[in-house]
C-alpha cells in the first residue's frame, strides 16, 4: 500500500501491539498499529485522552512504564530495528537518534539543578567537556531563541516562565541533533501567545534541522498548522490517516468528522445553535472489540459495523495517500448530529445590569514591592449575558474573579454592586443571599470537589446551604439538579475520583447552580477536558443560561470557546482592561493592538499558513510595569514616545466599545484592514 521509500524512513511502526498489565491481566492499549514517518516529515497524532497517544511515544523510545509490554509487531528507527537493541546499544540509539519533549517541562528539568549544569551535562555525556560544553549549551539556548542565554544558564527551572522552561526542554531534546523528535503535547500547558511562540520555534527548527517529528496533541488546530500528515488514533487503532489539510477539510471517518464538529469554528456563537458532541466514551483499555471500535458512539453504525472489523480502506487520490478504517467512509460526512443544532439562545434585550464594578484595584505585597494584580477595573454585566475575560496568564483574570466572589478582598475605594446593592469586600460580611447569588465553576474539578465526599453529599450540602432545602424537598430538587446537568442517579453514590473529567465538571456546575445564582464565574472550566467533552459542557452552560437567565463571567485562554459563549469581552493585560466591548466587535475589529496579537496567535483549523503578529518577549512583571502604555514593550504598532510617556485612557471608540490606545479608532481600522489585505 505504501510506496517504496526512497530513503530509509525515520520511523516505522509495523503491526505494533502494546499492553499494560493491570490486576494480573494484560490489557491491549495499542492494537496492530502501523505507521510510517518519512525523513524530515512532521506527523501529527490526534485523538481523545486515553486513546494511546503517549503510549505510542513511550513505546518508540522504549520507556514504557514497568507494567507495559510490547506484545507484537516491530519498530524501526532509521531502518534500525529498535526491539533488537538492548542495554548500551539502546541507550546510544536513544541518545543519538530520538529525543522526546513532554507536556510538562517540569518532567524534563531537574528543579534543584541550574539550567546551565543540566545542559552541559548532556554534552559531557557525549564527551565534550569544560568550556566546549558551555559554549555548546549557550549555542543551544540561542537556537531556541532565549534572550540572555548566559543569564538563563545561572537560573533554576522555577525561575523561568512556563514558555521558557519548555524552550529549554526543547533545547535539551535537540542537543544531540536527533533525527527523530517526539513532542507529546508540548504546548498544552501554555497560554495562547506562549503556545504560538513555541509552535513558531518548532516550525523554524524543523526547517533548520531536517529532523522528523512525531507531534502528539489533542488540539486539532495545532496539528493542522504544524504537520504534513496526520493520523487519528482511536482505542489504540489508527482510524484515519492522510495529508493534514485533506483529512481536516474532507474527513472520511465518522470519528474525525465528529471531533471536528465539537470545535466552535468560524466564529460560531451560542445564539447560532449548539455545538455537536460525541456521546459515550472511549472503550477502556483491554476492552474486547468486535467489529468497529467506534460503533457504540457512531450514529452511522449498523449490523455490519458491529460484527466486521473495518480494514484500513485505501482512499488515496491525487491529493495524497490516505486511508480510513470505516466501512462507510464515503458517507462519513453525512454523520447525523447527536445534538440538535437549534436551542440557540436568543440575544437579550437591554436591561439594568446585575453587576456593576467600578474602580476595582488589588495590590499584593511581593518581596517588598507592590504588585498591582488588578488595576482600576470598571465594567457592567447584564442579566443573561456572558462577559468573556481573556488575556495571557498573569494578566489578572483569576484575581479579578476572586475579588468579585469575595475570596480575596480588594483595595479600598472600588465598589462592586450586585443588583443595585453594594457588596462587602469580604465574603464573611456579605449576606447569605448575596453569597448564593454569585458562585463559581473552578478550572480543576479535582481540586474543587472534596475527594472524601460522595456526589450526593456534595450536592446535598450545596442545596442545604444555598437553597435552604433539606429532607424530602432537598431530595426532589437534587433529582432536578442532576438532570439539568445530565447526570443520573447512578452518579450520586460515587466519589469524584470514580468519574471522568467531564462528569466531574458537570457536578461542579450543578453545585454552582444549586442556589439559583444570578452570576456564575467560570474559570477555565473546559481547559482540562477533551474537545468532545468540552463541547458538551459548553452546550450545557449555554442551555442553563438560556433557561435561567443567569450571567456568566467566563475566563478562558481558548478564544474560540470565549467567542462561542460571550456577549461581551474584556481583554486584560497586566491587570488593566485594554479593550472592552461586544464580542463580535472585539473579535472582528478594529481592535486594540494587544487583542490583534492575541487573535493572530491562535492556531486556526481553516487556514494553514497565517502571517502571525508575534509578541516578542515575556509579559513584564506586574511589580514593575513599563511606564506609559503598559503594552509598549511588546506592541507591534507602537507609534512613538507618547506610548512610553503617557498611559492611554480606556476611551469609548464606539458606543459600548472601549479601547485603551493612543492610536485613534479610525486609524486602527485602517492599519488593521491594511494588514488583512496584505495577507490575502
Amino acid at each position: 500500500m505504501t510506496e517504496p521509500a526512497k530513503a530509509k524512513n525515520a520511523l516505522e511502526l509495523d503491526d505494533l501491539s502494546v499492553a499494560y498489565r493491570v490486576n494480573g491481566r494484560n490489557r491491549a492499549v495499542l492494537r496492530n498499529l502501523s505507521l510510517t514517518i518519512g525523513q524530515g516529515e512532521a506527523y501529527g497524532l490526534v485523538g481523545e485522552s486515553g486513546c494511546g497517544k503517549s503510549t505510542v511515544a513511550l513505546t518508540v523510545v522504549r520507556y514504557l512504564p514497568r507494567n507495559g509490554s510490547i506484545t507484537g509487531g516491530a519498530i524501526s528507527l532509521d531502518g534500525q530495528d529498535v526491539m533488537k537493541l538492548d542495554g548500551e546499544a539502546l541507550r546510544r540509539a536513544r541518545a543519538e537518534s530520538v529525543s522526546m519533549v513532554y507536556q510538562d517541562p517540569g518532567k524534563a528539568l531537574n528543579p534543584s539543578i541550574r539550567i546551565g549544569r543540566q545542559l552541559t551535562e548532556i554534552f559531557e555525556l557525549a564527551g565534550i567537556s569544560g568550556k566546549g560544553a558551555e559554549d555548546r549549551a549557550i549555542a543551544m539556548l540561542n537556537r531556541v531563541r532565549i534572550s540572555d542565554p548566559a543569564g538563563v544558564m545561572q537560573r533554576y527551572p522555577h525561575q523561568l516562565s512556563g514558555g521558557m522552561q519548555q524552550r529549554v526542554a526543547i533545547a535539551m531534546a535537540l542537543a544531540n541533533d536527533p533525527s527523530m523528535l517526539i513532542l507529546d503535547e508540548p504546548t498544552t500547558g501554555l497560554d495562547a501567545t506562549v503556545e504560538a511562540e513555541v509552535l513558531d520555534l518548532i516550525a523554524q527548527l524543523r526547517r533548520e534541522l531536517s529532523a522528523s517529528i512525531l507531534f502528539i496533541s489533542h488540539n486539532l488546530a495545532v496539528v493542522s498548522n504544524m504537520c504534513d500528515r496526520v493520523g487519528v488514533l482511536y482505542a489504540g487503532m489508527l482510524v484515519e490517516e492522510g495529508p493534514t489539510d485533506v483529512v481536516f477539510n474532507d474527513p472520511r471517518h465518522p470519528y474525525t468528522v465528529a471531533l471536528l464538529r465539537c470545535l466552535p469554528r468560524g466564529g460560531q456563537r451560542k445564539d447560532q445553535g449548539r455545538l455537536d458532541t460525541i456521546p459515550g466514551f472511549l472503550p477502556g483499555i483491554g476492552a474486547a472489540i468486535k467489529g468497529c471500535a467506534f460503533a457504540d458512539r457512531c450514529a452511522l453504525a449498523d449490523e455490519r459495523c458491529r460484527t466486521e472489523l473495518p480494514p484500513l480502506y485505501d482512499l488515496s487520490d491525487q491529493r495524497g495517500t490516505r486511508q480510513s478504517r470505516c466501512h462507510y467512509h464515503d458517507k462519513a460526512q453525512a454523520l447525523p448530529r447527536t445534538t440538535p443544532s437549534d436551542g440557540a439562545s436568543a440575544p437579550k434585550p437591554a436591561t439594568a445590569p446585575v453587576l456593576r464594578v467600578a474602580g476595582l484595584n488589588k495590590t499584593y505585597a511581593s518581596h517588598g514591592h507592590a504588585l498591582r494584580a488588578v488595576k482600576d477595573v470598571s465594567l457592567d454585566l447584564r442579566p443573561g449575558e456572558t462577559l468573556g475575560l481573556v488575556g495571557e496568564s498573569g494578566s489578572g483574570k483569576t484575581t479579578f474573579a476572586r475579588l468579585l466572589l469575595g475570596l480575596v478582598p480588594p483595595d479600598d475605594g472600588g465598589t462592586i454592586e450586585l443588583e443595585g446593592k453594594a457588596l462587602a469586600p469580604k465574603l464573611a460580611n456579605r449576606g447569605d443571599d448575596q453569597v448564593k447569588a454569585m458562585q463559581i465553576v473552578f478550572q480543576n474539578p479535582d481540586s474543587a470537589l472534596n475527594r472524601s465526599h460522595s456526589i450526593r453529599h456534595i450536592l446535598g450540602r450545596a442545596l442545604k446551604r444555598l437553597a435552604g432545602l433539606s429532607g424530602k424537598a432537598q431530595e426532589a430538587r437534587l433529582e432536578d439538579l442532576i438532570r439539568s446537568v445530565r447526570l443520573t442517579d447512578r452518579h450520586l453514590a460515587v466519589k469524584p475520583r470514580q468519574l471522568s473529567g467531564g462528569l466531574k465538571q458537570r457536578v461542579a456546575i450543578a453545585r454552582a447552580f444549586a442556589g439559583d445564582p444570578r452570576i456564575v464565574v467560570c474559570d477555565e472550566p473546559t481547559s482540562a477536558l477533551d474537545v468532545s467533552v468540552q463541547a458538551a459542557i459548553l452546550n450545557l452552560l449555554a442551555d442553563l443560561q438560556a433557561k435561567q437567565d443567569v450571567s456568566y463571567i467566563f475566563i478562558s485562554h481558548d478564544l474560540g470557546v470565549v467567542r462561542y459563549l460571550s456577549d461581551n469581552i474584556a481583554v486584560l493585560y497586566l491587570g488593566r482592561i485594554m479593550e472592552l466591548g461586544p464580542s463580535e466587535e472585539v473579535f472582528s475589529g478594529p481592535h486594540h493592538p494587544y487583542t490583534e496579537a492575541l487573535l493572530s496567535a491562535v492556531p486556526k483549523l481553516d487556514q494553514t499558513e497565517t502571517a502571525r503578529i508575534r509578541l516578542d518577549g515575556e509579559i513584564p512583571s506586574a511589580t514593575n510595569p513599563p511606564p506609559g502604555c503598559v503594552f509598549q514593550t511588546r506592541c507591534p504598532r507602537k507609534i512613538g514616545p507618547i506610548c512610553e510617556q503617557q498611559e492611554p485612557p480606556l476611551a469609548e471608540a464606539q458606543p459600548g466599545h472601549s479601547i485603551r490606545c493612543h492610536i485613534p479608532y479610525s486609524e486602527l481600522a485602517q492599519l488593521q484592514k491594511a494588514a488583512v489585505t496584505e495577507l490575502a
Partner: protein
C-alpha cells in the same frame, strides 16, 4: 433527546477500587506490615487471654524457689520472691497495652484538633498556638511527668495524660502541614462560598482528607508511647506494683543482674523490644501503603 454520555461511572477497571480498599489491599501485601502486625497481635492476645495459658499465677510468690534459673519447670526462671517470670512476661503486656494506646489516642485527638486550628486559621492563631506548642515540645517528657505526678499523683491516668499531652504537639505539627496544603484547594473556597462555619470546613471538609497522614503519625507515635510507658514505669512514675508490667519488673529486678540473675530482666526487656519493633514495622507498612 440528546443521548449524552450515558456512561458507567468507572471508565476503566484500574480505577474501580476505592481509596480505602486500595490501601488495605496494599497493606495486606506488605510483608513489613504483616510481620509487625503479627507481633502486635500476639501480645494483644497475651494481654487478653494470657491468664488462661500462663502456667502459674503471675502474682503468686514462692519464696523457697526464689531466683531459680530457667528450667523445664520455670522456662524463664523465677524472680526475687519466686514468681514465675514466663507467666509474668505473658500477662505483663496488659497494662502497657492499655496505657500506651490510650495515650496515643489522646495525643491524636488533641493533636488533630490543634493541627486543624493552626493550619486552617494561620495568622495570629497559628503564631500563638505554634509558639506555645514549640515551647511545650522543648520540655523533656520526664520533667512533664514529674510535674504531673506531683500535681495528680501516680496512676495510669497520669501516665496517659502525660504521654498524650507530650505527643500531641508532634501530631499537631504533622496535621498542620497537611491542613495547610488542603486549605489551598478549591473545595475549601467552595465551602466559604456557601458560608459554611469554620468548624464545618475544618472537621467535615478538611479532616477526612488528612486522615492518611494522621494514621501514619499515630502508628509511629504508638511505638514511642510504648517505649515511654515502659521508661516511666521503670523510673517508678508509671504503672505501680503489684502489676507484672515489664518496665516495672525490670526496675525492681535490675539490681540482680550483678548477681548473675540475668533472667529476671532479660525476658521483660526482650518483650518490650519485640512490641516496639512490631509496632514500628506495622507503622512502616502503613506509611508505605499510604504513600504508594
Amino acid at each position: 433527546m440528546s443521548a449524552l454520555e450515558t456512561t458507567s461511572p468507572a471508565q476503566d477497571d484500574t480505577r474501580r477500587r476505592g481509596p480505602l480498599a486500595e490501601t488495605l489491599f496494599s497493606l495486606m501485601r506488605s510483608r513489613t506490615f504483616l510481620v509487625g502486625f503479627a507481633i502486635v497481635l500476639f501480645w494483644v492476645a497475651c494481654a487478653l487471654f494470657g491468664e488462661h495459658f500462663a502456667p502459674y499465677d503471675p502474682l503468686a510468690d514462692d519464696i523457697i524457689n526464689a531466683l531459680a534459673p530457667p528450667s523445664s519447670e520455670h522456662w524463664f526462671g523465677t524472680d526475687q520472691i519466686g514468681r514465675d517470670v514466663f507467666s509474668r512476661v505473658i500477662v505483663g503486656s496488659r497494662d502497657i497495652l492499655t496505657v500506651a494506646p490510650l495515650a496515643t489516642v489522646l495525643a491524636t485527638i488533641a493533636g488533630t484538633a490543634l493541627g486543624l486550628l493552626t493550619g486552617y486559621f494561620r495568622g495570629l492563631v497559628d503564631d500563638v498556638v505554634s509558639r506555645i506548642l514549640e515551647a511545650f515540645m522543648a520540655i523533656p517528657v520526664v520533667i512533664v511527668a514529674l510535674l504531673a505526678i506531683v500535681a495528680l499523683g501516680t496512676s495510669k491516668t497520669t501516665v496517659i495524660v502525660v504521654i498524650g499531652l507530650s505527643f500531641a504537639p508532634i501530631i499537631a505539627r504533622t496535621v498542620r502541614s497537611a491542613v495547610m496544603a488542603e486549605r489551598e484547594l478549591d473545595y475549601v473556597a467552595a465551602a466559604q462560598l456557601r458560608h459554611e462555619s469554620a468548624f464545618h470546613t475544618m472537621f467535615v471538609e478538611i479532616l477526612p482528607n488528612v486522615i492518611p497522614p494522621i494514621l501514619v503519625e499515630t502508628t509511629v507515635r504508638l511505638g514511642y508511647a510504648i517505649f515511654a510507658v515502659a521508661t516511666l514505669s521503670f523510673m517508678g512514675f508509671g504503672i505501680q506494683p503489684p502489676s507484672p508490667d515489664w518496665g516495672l519488673s525490670i526496675s525492681s529486678n535490675y539490681g540482680m543482674i550483678g548477681g548473675g540473675f540475668w533472667w529476671t530482666v532479660l525476658f521483660d526487656a526482650l518483650a518490650i523490644a519485640s512490641l516496639v519493633i512490631g509496632v514500628n514495622l506495622a507503622a512502616d507498612g502503613v506509611h508505605g501503603a499510604f504513600n504508594d
